[in-house]
Symmetry: C2
Subunit: 322 residues, 2 copies
Amino acid sequence: MPAVLNLDQIKEALKQIDPVEVIIKSIEEGFVAYSQGKVVVPPIGELVFEEPRGDTHIKYGYIRHDDYYVIKIASGFYDNPKLGLPTSSGLMLLFSQKTGELVAVLIDDGYLTQVRTAAAGAVVGKYFAPQKIRRVGVFGAGVQGRMQVEYLRYVRDFKDVIVWGVNQGELDRYKADMTPKGFLIQTTFDPEEIASTCNVIITATPSYTPLLKAAQVRKGTHITAMGSDTAEKHELDPAILKKADKLAVDSIPQSLLRGEVFKALEAGTIKKADLVELGTAISDRKFQRQSDDEITVVDLTGVAVQDIQISKAVWRVVAGRK
Amino acid sequence: MPAVLNLDQIKEALKQIDPVEVIIKSIEEGFVAYSQGKVVVPPIGELVFEEPRGDTHIKYGYIRHDDYYVIKIASGFYDNPKLGLPTSSGLMLLFSQKTGELVAVLIDDGYLTQVRTAAAGAVVGKYFAPQKIRRVGVFGAGVQGRMQVEYLRYVRDFKDVIVWGVNQGELDRYKADMTPKGFLIQTTFDPEEIASTCNVIITATPSYTPLLKAAQVRKGTHITAMGSDTAEKHELDPAILKKADKLAVDSIPQSLLRGEVFKALEAGTIKKADLVELGTAISDRKFQRQSDDEITVVDLTGVAVQDIQISKAVWRVVAGRK
């Protein structure tokens, strides 16, 4: 029988990964393998439901010659809150690449996706954020607005954070949650306050209209754009991508179809040839930030190799305990 | 937490479905819903591995306005026998169509696929086999060669069975296994012995060349062809499909791409317009066997709605016990 882990057991396993840099490193290695063409990722499977409204996505793949392959199933059922249930649920299945056997069922309800996404932000920070962070500005006071900041601290030293949100309640909760973790939190409704005081900006909203304009982005700013993951959403003025000295994406094929890059290509501010993959940038210093004056933008849409890597990281802990 | 059932628990649950006709009925209802266009079945997901050789298929779908949706993951790793492991493994995941939540993980190692395939054979028998079976002829002494016969007995009264195989050892094992179940088993290496003495024939082999020729098929014969499920495999001379008075398939879209019908279309012995779906035939008597003299052929390639129905049938037992 395969191991079956619930969310508490998965969180417990993650806590035992010490230091947390091990998780970040494994996601980093995943991006490198992906950009080297070593990862097999077939098209995403999809089921759409109308009554009640919902959708389920099946993402799956493997790194060639690795020990495992992973199938992730994630769903969003948008009327669930009326029933007192969370909108999202999901799981990751880890199989042996040697025998096909099911090794582990990780019923994480989407939590591992949050972790691997935050860890990707840390990988981006490691190669693109200025060495000395003045203040981190965050658009979006949700889960990723918190976790991106927490994970970034594993690769850069900083304390000052300013968060932008849509209502004071969510900003107050953000401050209440993050202050005990050692951050000095300011809140704002004014994007300019973020643009003018932060040299690292994280966008983590489901926005359909740009939050920042190109004229607001100062020399020396790094932006991690991780909120937009569809053809409709975007958080940055397409002119910002043109203004960037360095522009990277987690996956070129995906960014041609969704996120900030898709919008900028559509607007004609950038060309496909301007794109470099994160995994390529990790392996080649010339694609990384070169000085404290450069503007860098990295657009993340989420890649199945992150799911593969985080599942394996959890499983290594559990298997080691056996 | 969802329920997680292993193979023993799944077999135990199946035993509690009393009478077995309930399973056959649920598969029958699945075919009807499918042919009425009520079933959503997206394209199959696939992962192919080279070292060691293996493949994994993800089949999924749902009946509109039903309570559940199902994702089936099935793999074949062809070097497993060298490790003393079975080639196939797999599981079915049952999710709520109301909330997206994972309800049950059925780690059946492919067994439920065997059951739903045998039950489909019984549905075919119910509407196409002559009322009075003289003898059942089976090509293939494997799992389906056994289970098709066992399930057929739920819809027709018979005892005499003759089985064709490729070596005496497998035929002897077949006889040893099936005799205690109340069947009178003969064995043969000669297809003509089957064609000349049986009015129900089941083909359950992975053959790439026809086992039966058109001239051998007598008036009044019913053939259930369930072995071929790819574009390469077939078990029947394409002229047999032309000779048939009634010809049905489980899924028209699938049969255009694989199995006996694909080969016969390719050979030009039949046209797409000759095809009727099993679900349509169940609902409309004129597509079923009309007399003891007719030749009928039904080609099964396997449809995801069968997986949906069998998972639900198992889950109803388990949920009822809770």
